[in-house]
Symmetry: C2
Subunit: 193 residues, 2 copies
DNA sequence: CGATTTTTTGAATCATATCAACGTACGTGG
DNA sequence: CCACGTACGTTGATATGATTCAAAAAATCG
């Protein structure tokens, strides 16, 4: 049940079997069925999740009530409204299962306890946040500097598995486009090769 | 010379005078004159900087050679091409002084040494990265979900000091707009109040 | 003060959004 | 097993908003 989580942690800091057991003692698991929500905006985000199995989307709603997908998560990815989790503010993000999911969860108290108790857990978190920051920075750069065509091509390159598992109109939303426009972009790309 | 740096660290983890001295032993300083570069794309980013005094901009160039500002930095802010710094890859970002600047610098070896030596330095880095991630996430959300008018209003609210110290066409670049469009947005906002 | 940079304004052009209709695939209940 | 309903993707016509190009006005700097 915690294989994916442990392998992700071990990628960054290698744990002894004993340490693995120690961390797992602080975790819980949760299953979601397709269309169920892990988090709704306004609620407090009590857990950070790591996806053991399944796919989810994170979206926000703008002042006019339109949804904008800000992230997808597949196996091995972490998610949650970090701002809500750490500062105990109402969440601004919604997180919904796109497939039946298995998550492993860490609560705020467990997170704090592990930070104090186990230096490797802090190191893991530092590296995780650093990588998340670098990835988000790269995404922001692409959004600003690439044409929609190039952006879509890059997305397909980097996340072919998302393209396979997620409906196209959600990818359009992620890219900040209407479904119609993405459809036209795709046919434009298909032409030129 | 290290006042701003130390106050920023002490905001997140409180240091004893002794620990302060210990960290400072690993730092160096650098001054830049207006229009000088801290980093050019293609170079290796050898240092992470914290701004003691002055203002800088970070920008990237797109495939057509146009510049896009991705960040500003004023006193107390950290900057550098993290990806280049940590992975020793060529930088993709350019960082230029907009005013005469005083920076304090930490090299990669110093960074690694402090991570090993001083747990508080790792904690500082974890918190710094987490906050940077949350801030960038918020910016991404605003870019996607707010109209340019609302985005500009939010920017002026959150960073009034940047608006005062940075030319308007650079703020336009940061927002992903042409200078002409931002000018029109401003007059539109002025109308409606 | 003169030179350069920055901001504003106007007109034409281009790209995406919007609105609407149609085609297709999928899954469910009759 | 078929028929229907729903969700998804595509295509077309029009409208909206930003970009581009050009030029003038305003502000800044030496």
């Amino acid at each position: 049940m915690y294989e994916v989580f442990l392998s992700k942690v071990n990628e960054k800091v290698s744990l002894t079997p004993q340490e693995e057991a120690e961390i797992i003692a602080y975790l819980t698991t949760k299953t979601l069925r397709k269309r169920e929500f892990f988090l709704k905006e306004g609620d407090l985000c009590r857990y950070i999740a790591l996806v053991e199995k399944g796919a989810l989307r994170t979206y926000v709603t703008d002042p006019e009530g339109h949804e904008h997908i800000t992230a997808f998560a597949l196996e091995g990815w972490s998610l949650g409204d970090l701002c809500s989790f750490l500062r105990e503010e109402p969440a601004t993000q919604n997180i919904e299962a796109l497939e039946d999911c298995e998550l492993c969860l860490i609560s705020r108290p467990a997170h704090e306890a592990l930070l104090l108790k186990m230096p490797k857990y802090e190191t893991y978190n530092r590296i995780l946040m650093t990588e998340a920051y670098i990835a988000l920075q790269k995404r922001t750069r692409d959004m600003i500097s690439l044409s929609p065509d190039e952006q879509y091509k890059a997305f397909v390159q980097v996340y072919p598995n998302i393209v396979l598992r997620v409906p196209q109109h959600m990818i359009a939303s992620y890219m900040g486009l209407t479904p119609e426009t993405l459809s036209r972009i795709k046919s434009r790309i298909a032409q030129h090769k």
